[in-house]
């Protein structure tokens, strides 16, 4: 379903979704083509673009967003510069965190993504903290914390949910259920439905198709309005179709680079993963909706994609050509009080 917002905003959503896809295709290429450009493992947001972009579309610039080890998409969704994201992922001085964070914890304080944690559940309490600050400071800011289904296995989730409800914090717990725990498949929870847990803690809970831009936008913007009116916290479960290439600690382009034309004709997609591209790919689902009911032509969508690809390629070039930090700078940034 299409979000009820002006056409150019709808196209802006498509543009950001495509940017996440294209930027992360570069991340995977970094790993596959350049020896040592990415060390250790990494995670991509491919397949969950609709959730992050639709949620951030419903937020204001001053609203706080917290993310996870799977953060690249959230940063771009909140308006992040893909060049600074890619530069950070490969540890460049020009990255959002001057190369200190890397792929695991890209933070972008100027976008109010003030901290990102790769510790499962690591940002749940912190987000309750920014929400608490907004309450004390009487700003109208909303805090949104993205986390995965696996994070619901950690006690910090339970404690944060309890306190958030007791203190009535302006906070949305946004659980992205990709039915995965990073590499491993299947969550490991005894609840019949994960959403039973927030319900038991008396937190109003909504379950949404995370691949449906319109539904995600509608749910989030309504909750954001209610929070600005003084309600909260809320819990949202966004259910997504896990991208087949993601089922590992080193994601692979199982179908090669996405071809926007597959939105209209998936037959060129390798058989073993075709069904996901045919039915599960949120970018294609949204593109088809724009054509079907948004009065947007295929050509226009292909133009947008071409433009995004160009920007993403430039961003990748910027990242790769950016300088590495000065070795000695390693000793900086331990303490703000030291002035470095």
């Amino acid at each position: 379903m299409l979000p009820e917002i002006p056409r150019e905003k709808q196209l802006g959503i498509l543009q950001r979704m495509l940017m996440i896809r294209r930027a992360e295709e570069h991340v995977i290429r970094f790993n596959e083509d350049y020896e040592g450009l990415i060390r250790g493992h990494f995670h991509v947001y491919i397949g969950q673009e609709a959730t992050g972009v639709a949620v951030c579309e419903a937020l204001q610039k001053d609203d706080f967003v917290f993310s996870t080890h799977r953060n690249h998409g959230h940063v771009i969704a909140k308006g992040g510069d893909p060049g600074k994201v890619l530069a950070e992922i490969i540890g460049r001085e020009t990255g959002y965190c001057r190369g200190r964070a890397g792929t695991f914890h890209v933070a972008a304080p100027d976008l109010k993504i003030i901290h990102t944690s790769a510790i499962v559940g690591g940002c749940l309490a912190l987000a309750a903290g920014t929400a608490f600050a907004s309450q004390v400071q009487e700003t109208r800011a909303v805090s949104v914390v993205f986390f995965g289904d696996g994070a619901m296995e950690e006690g910090v989730f339970y404690e944060s949910l309890n306190i958030a409800k007791l203190w009535q914090l302006p906070l949305i717990f946004l659980m992205e259920n990709n039915y995965r725990r990073a590499g491993h498949s299947g969550s490991s929870h005894s609840a019949k439905e994960l959403s039973n847990v927030p319900r038991a803690l008396n937190v109003e809970t909504t379950v949404v198709d995370g691949g449906d831009v319109g539904a995600m936008y509608k749910t989030t913007s309504e909750l954001v309005q209610r929070i600005r009116a003084g309600e909260g916290p809320f819990f949202v479960e966004a259910q997504t179709h896990p991208w087949p290439g993601n089922d590992t600690t080193h994601p692979k382009l199982v179908a090669g680079k996405t071809d926007i034309k597959w939105a209209w004709d998936p037959s060129p997609v390798p058989e073993n993963v075709r069904s996901w591209y045919a039915e599960g790919d949120p970018v294609f689902i949204f593109a088809r909706e724009l054509v079907k009911s948004g009065g947007v032509s295929r050509e226009e969508i292909e133009r947008i994609d071409a433009e995004v690809r160009k920007q993403a390629d430039e961003a990748a070039r910027f990242a790769v050509e950016s300088p590495l930090p000065e070795p000695k700078a390693a000793l900086n940034f331990a303490y703000a009080g030291r002035g470095n």
């Binding site: 706080f64 990255g95 959002y96 965190c97 001057r98 190369g99 200190r100 964070a101 914890h105 933070a107 304080p109 100027d110 003030i114 901290h115 990102t116 944690s117 510790i119 690591g122 940002c123 749940l124 309490a125 912190l126 987000a127 309750a128 903290g129 920014t130 929400a131 608490f132 600050a133 907004s134 004390v136 400071q137 006690g155 910090v156 404690e159 944060s160 309890n162 306190i163 007791l166 203190w167 900086n332 940034f333 331990a334 303490y335 703000a336 009080g337 470095n340």
Partner: protein, 325 residues
Amino acid sequence: MPQEMSFGEALVSALGEVLEQDRRVVLIGGGLVSSGPAQAQFARLRQKFGSRMKSPPIAEIGFCGIAAGAAMAGLRPLVDIGTATFSYEAIPQIVNEAAIAYSNSGGQTNVPVTYFMRYGIRGGGGVQHSGSPQPWYWNTPGLQVTMPSSPADAKGLLRTALLKSQDPTIFFAHERLMNLRGPVPDGEYEIPFGKAEVKREGRDVTIIATGVQVPRALAAADALAKDGISAEVVDPRTLEPLDKATLIASVKKTGRLVVTDESHDNCSVASGLAAIMAEEAFASLRAPIKRVTIPHVPVPFAVPLEDYVTPTAERIGEAARALVR
């Protein structure tokens, strides 16, 4: 002119002042003090500033994380965790998040949160309520660590943590210091982090002592004086930042060193300080560096057992005598 007050009263008076001065200061958790007149003083603060004081559930990882997040968003929270061993529940938020956020963000995200906890052998705390994690927190880059030993220092250091600090601070108070009385300067003042204080001048041996060990070291110095041994007692006051210069200068003068902290001996704060001196003051050392700490055994409950593992003034005195004679 300075008034006499207890360590606990000094903490409460600092809290009252900063709550008045800075609306960004909030309290999460307990009330800093658990007995004495200070408790009544705190109760008055709650009346006045209750809206900025939160009593959370028994959920340390939750509320310590909330405090860190609130600090990232511009508040200056003080968290009273209670007994230091309860802070173990919150280490993922304190060490994996609060301590690294500034560094991870390349110098963009400040986390001015203060975690207050009671450490050490309190009398009957047993294996679970006598913990001394100061070595762990000092080992953690991104955290500041302060261990005040007097009412005046407690007040000045708490004001610095709550009003001036831009980084997370672990504030250690020893249960057995809470009712210690001493002079506290009039009016508002801060004691900057990273300034050690020579609590007593001496010639023959340096005793570097932290927190509750400072009054014990001063008592030991009195006893040593009777035997004609002149001991200098130096209190770092903050471990991170550490005022190495003052410590080294003292060892240069005396040539002998005892380091004492009420933490377990392996990798204790005493070890950390001894190791620094064994490198940077080696040339001046005329004798081995002795440590007076808790032996490597969980703190037992029964009185004679607990007393036996406590790093007392007597044990500090013996260590000093062994070096001088």
